[in-house]
């Protein structure tokens, strides 16, 4: 039984690390500010939360688990908000998403504004 828990937490932590690396490569290699936000978002939500859930499996019924649950909750709250704030700031600073030109050369100057509120 112990080995099952260990294996599960191993898998989760490895999956989280893979997502971290993928997100890091995405932040570096993607062409545009707004597409790079996707990479950053993956790092925060999938990477960090997978690693934290793996740690939760390690510390099974402990006060540490409650603290880890709280950390996951707070990361889930703050990380998308941060990405949203960054995207809004980039939009306000003048960055526009790169849009592929449509074949007939119609007006493709600006992309959709991310938030309409």
């Amino acid at each position: 039984m112990e080995m099952l828990f260990d294996a599960v937490s191993w898998v989760l932590i490895l999956v989280g690390s893979v997502f971290l690396v993928v997100g890091g490569i995405g932040v570096v290699r993607l062409p545009d500010v707004f597409t790079r936000m996707h990479g950053a978002g993956i790092i925060d939500t999938m990477g960090a939360c997978a690693i934290l859930i793996g740690l939760m499996v390690q510390a099974w019924f402990n006060i540490v688990t409650i603290k880890l649950v709280l950390i996951v909750v707070f990361i889930m709250f703050t990380s998308p908000t941060t990405t949203h704030a960054l995207a809004r700031a980039a939009l306000g600073g003048g960055a526009r998403p790169q849009v592929r030109e449509s074949p007939e050369g119609a007006d493709v100057g600006e992309g959709e504004s991310p938030s309409k509120t």
């Binding site: 707070f74 908000t81 949203h84 509120t117």
Partner: protein
């Protein structure tokens, strides 16, 4: 260690980068990496403080300065790079020569680990009775240093007020009519406003938790003060600065700035009046360990109040500058 190599790379990048916004963000990343390094080196209290202070407050203040001085780009006119490089290399070589005599990393028989620290570690359990040895050393065994440090924070806040403080221009009530709403975007920023309103009580609660839990785990007055101030700074960043100023009036923050230091010094004077030495907490109660607990509690509270008020004062002084 790979973390240290990472930090060296970031240091080089900061030296070479010209865009000042990038430099400031890289400094924040540098502080966070050093906080991770401190956790690896078993310094959990220090890591906590460095993450809160270095990656939080220092970055916010530097960004505020950049916004005020509006110098985004910098044209490098290095007229003396070679001389500086030569000086740096010579100094570095001298320092490395100096480290050749040092005890190796992690050596338990090094002089630093055998002078007075075994006494702290062994006697702290029955003299003070707190699990966190760092807190007991900080607040009780080395209480004078912490008193001086609280004064330093107080002086820094007072100095910032003196240098760039403006006299109050009368009460600027934030008129919340439709025009203000349109300008300040009550319809925009809905996500940020809602989430920050959800998070603010958690932040303040966490600050209080860190304050009182510093006796048993990493924490204490400094970290708690900084986290408490960051709650107010978050409110000021997302909502209007004037609104945040109305929540914490300048008089109130200045009052608390002095109150914390007064509390700390007052505990020392009270222990003088009760017959012990200055800042000797054992005389504060019948049982000496109880007296130590009370003394450390009050002293850390004083530190926390002063640090929170100082950070709030400094930030609001920066934020209410005319551009």
């Amino acid at each position: 260690m790979s973390l240290m190599a990472f930090m060296a790379v970031i240091g080089f990048a900061v030296a070479r980068l010209r865009n000042l916004f990038g430099v400031v963000i890289l400094t924040g990343i540098f502080s966070l990496t050093s906080a991770v390094l401190y956790v690896v080196l078993d310094a959990v209290d220090v890591a906590f403080t460095e993450a809160a202070v270095g990656a939080g407050i220092a970055t916010v203040l530097m960004l505020g300065t950049l916004a005020l001085t509006t110098s985004e780009e910098k044209t490098v006119s290095d007229n003396k790079p070679l001389l500086a490089l030569l000086l740096v290399t010579v100094t570095g070589a001298a320092l490395i020569y100096g480290t050749l005599d040092m005890p190796h990393y992690g050596d338990p028989t090094a002089p630093i680990n055998n002078h007075v620290v075994p006494r702290y570690l062994a006697d702290s359990a029955y003299e003070i009775g707190l699990p966190n040895v760092v807190t007991s050393v900080l607040a009780s065994y080395r209480g004078y240093d912490t008193l001086g440090e609280t004064f330093v924070i107080f002086t820094a806040a007072a100095g910032v007020l003196l240098i760039i403080g403006r006299p109050q221009r009368g009460r600027r009530r934030a008129h919340r009519d439709a025009q203000w709403d349109i300008e300040h975007g009550i319809r925009k920023n809905v996500i940020l406003r809602v989430v920050s309103k959800l998070l603010l009580p958690m932040i303040l609660l966490f600050a209080l938790y860190v304050q009182w839990h510093g006796d048993f785990g990493p924490g204490g007055g400094f970290q708690a003060g900084v986290i408490f101030a960051s709650g107010f700074i978050l409110y000021a960043l997302i909502f209007d600065v004037d609104l945040a100023r109305a929540v914490v009036a300048p008089k109130v923050s200045r009052f608390f700035l002095a109150l914390g230091v007064l509390l700390y010094g007052g505990v020392g004077v009270v222990s003088l009046l009760l017959g012990g030495n200055f800042l000797d907490y054992s005389v504060l109660a019948y049982v000496p360990t109880q007296g130590q607990h009370i003394g450390i509690l009050l002293v850390e509270l004083g530190v926390g109040i002063t640090v929170a008020a100082a950070m709030i004062t400094i930030f609001f002084t920066f934020a209410s500058q005319e551009r």
